[in-house]
């Protein structure tokens, strides 16, 4: 997938000619300050928001959810309140008109993976925030999408559940490779999951760092290599913040 994107919301310039190439089956993590345009970027990748200028090409074609097999774990709560857990998870499969038997089987499998067995007929209002998020994750992986966009999917989960979900996502991905774009604020998570970590600047978002993660899997978060890479990312982030701060104070002096 290659993208070159300029996007504004009214007068607000979010992306200014942001260029990004993602390899097929790559696990790409994106970090960046709040409000820099990560969610917008994923929306544009998915083809559900049209960029003001530029394009997103998947296999040389304009990104289009009707043509490409895309799924999305949204940052905000996105379960459909009128459907129970089972029906929520099957949403993507039903839209794609898969046979009933296949939907039943896939939903059943993924329910076990996300640990919601026993809650199949619960409605979203009867679930906790983290459980709802797991429903969204299950829905995204039920469809066997070729491109999975995940927007801070694990923030509402406790540490053990989060680690379990990280392992599950990795094992799904290793079982059948697909392209995953994963937004997170958590550097450890980014380094643990990604083939590559990209850091974005504040608006308009530029890529300030593009760090390949060459560590062998399964990765050990306490190994020296891992912690070194993590520290490198943290330093980059700090420099970026320092830059922003100095720029800010400079512009204040000018004024």
């Amino acid at each position: 997938m290659r993208a070159e994107i300029t996007h504004r919301y009214g007068d607000l310039l979010v992306h200014d000619g942001l260029r990004l190439a993602i390899r097929e089956n790559e696990f790409l993590c994106i970090c960046g300050p709040s409000g820099c345009g990560k969610t917008t970027l994923l929306d544009i990748f998915a083809g559900i928001v049209k960029p003001s200028a530029g394009e997103v090409l998947i296999d040389g074609e304009q990104a289009d959810p009707k043509r490409h097999n895309i799924s999305f774990v949204f940052q905000e709560a996105s379960t459909l309140p009128w459907l129970d857990v089972r029906a929520n998870i099957g949403t993507g499969l039903r839209i794609k008109k898969r046979p009933k038997a296949e939907i039943g089987r896939k939903v059943d499998d993924i329910i076990g993976v996300v640990g919601l067995r026993g809650f199949e007929s619960y409605y979203p209002h009867q679930l906790s925030g983290g459980m709802k998020q797991r429903v969204s994750i299950a829905r995204a992986f039920a469809t066997d999408a070729d491109l999975v966009l995940m927007d801070e999917p694990f923030v509402s989960l406790d540490q053990p559940t989060r680690e379990k979900m990280q392992r599950e996502v990795l094992s799904i991905w290793e079982h059948r490779r697909r392209t995953i774009v994963f937004v997170t604020h958590n550097l450890e998570e980014a380094v643990f999951l990604g083939d590559r970590v990209i850091m974005l600047s504040t608006k308009p978002a530029r890529i300030v760092a593009d760090i390949p993660v060459d560590l062998p899997r399964p990765r050990n978060p306490v190994s020296a290599d891992f912690t070194a890479l993590r520290a490198r990312c943290a330093n980059l982030l700090q420099e970026m913040h320092a830059d922003d701060a100095s720029q800010e104070s400079a512009s204040k002096h000018e004024a």
């Binding site: 559900i48 959810p65 999305f72 996105s78 459909l80 993507g92 794609k96 409605y123």
Partner: protein
């Protein structure tokens, strides 16, 4: 009666208490009525048993013109159902259309909205000129039930959350799928609420329309006939039947709502 207490009445194991309480309320109401009537002691304030007598008499022998009580009930009910159905069948799609095309609504607002404030009763003179028989009544009830359904559908569409649309669109849903699987489920509770308001408006309208003439049958007509004879009890029978029919239809709608909106009702139970 509030929806919450109705919901409680239907709630499986807790059904019993509200039913008992309602029976007690009805008995208390009748007792107070009885003694108030005895105190006033006037032919213009009959006690409850006179109403029952009048009801039994009407049910067995029909009215003074030989029309049976059931013919009156059915005539009114039928008119209400036809007009109400027309109101729903036109109100929902138009509400959806205008809700989904805010530009269309904005452009026609100053025509559509003032109509809402013309009460159905104000349409009676025109209806008398243009229609007769069933179409006249159905038209008036349509006017009365269209706007509650239309307006609540219109308002409901604005409640559709962008994120829910995104969920469907990202998996490749068509506009039609979004309409039927995202917009409609969101709006349905508002539509049902609008339908229950419309039902009240429909009964209000039918009685007014029947009072204005053009028919020899219908509960409203029956009441006017007995008013001319100064027979209070028969008039009250008509009132009670209107209340009972309206209540029954409302209960039917509520139970449909409960079945449809399990995902919502469970919150309130």
């Amino acid at each position: 009666m509030s929806t919450a207490s109705l919901a409680g009445r239907w709630a499986g194991g807790r059904q019993f208490r509200p039913v008992v309480l309602n029976v007690v309320s009805i008995v208390a109401f009748l007792v107070v009525w009885h003694f108030a009537s005895a105190l006033v002691n006037s032919p213009f304030f009959p006690p409850p048993y006179k109403i029952v007598q009048a009801f039994v008499n009407l049910a067995q022998h029909g009215d003074t013109m030989g029309n049976s009580l059931w013919a009156h009930c059915w005539a009114s009910l039928y008119r209400v159902l036809v007009g109400f159905a027309a109101g729903v069948v036109l109100g929902v799609p138009l509400g959806l259309l205008m809700g989904l095309m805010p530009g269309f609504y904005a452009a026609t607002r100053s025509i559509v909205e003032p109509f809402r404030f013309i009460p159905p009763i104000a349409w009676i003179p025109l209806a008398i000129i243009f229609f007769s028989g069933l179409p006249r009544f159905a038209f008036l009830i349509f006017i009365g039930s269209f706007f509650p359904v239309f307006t609540s559908t219109l308002v409901g569409v604005s409640r559709v959350e962008q994120i829910h649309r995104k969920v469907a669109v990202v998996y490749g849903a068509s506009r039609f799928y979004v309409l039927t699987h995202i917009v409609l489920p969101t709006v349905l509770p508002d539509i049902m609420g609008g339908m229950r308001v419309a039902l009240g408006a429909a009964w209000l309208t039918i009685v007014a329309a029947e009072l204005s003439g053009g028919t020899s049958i219908g509960l409203g007509r029956m009441m006017v006939n007995y008013a001319e004879l100064l027979q209070i009890s028969e008039i009250v029978v008509g009132m009670v039947l209107i209340g009972a029919l309206g209540f029954a239809m409302n209960e039917i709608l509520l139970s449909i709502e409960r079945r449809l909106f399990r995902w919502r009702w469970q919150v309130t139970l």
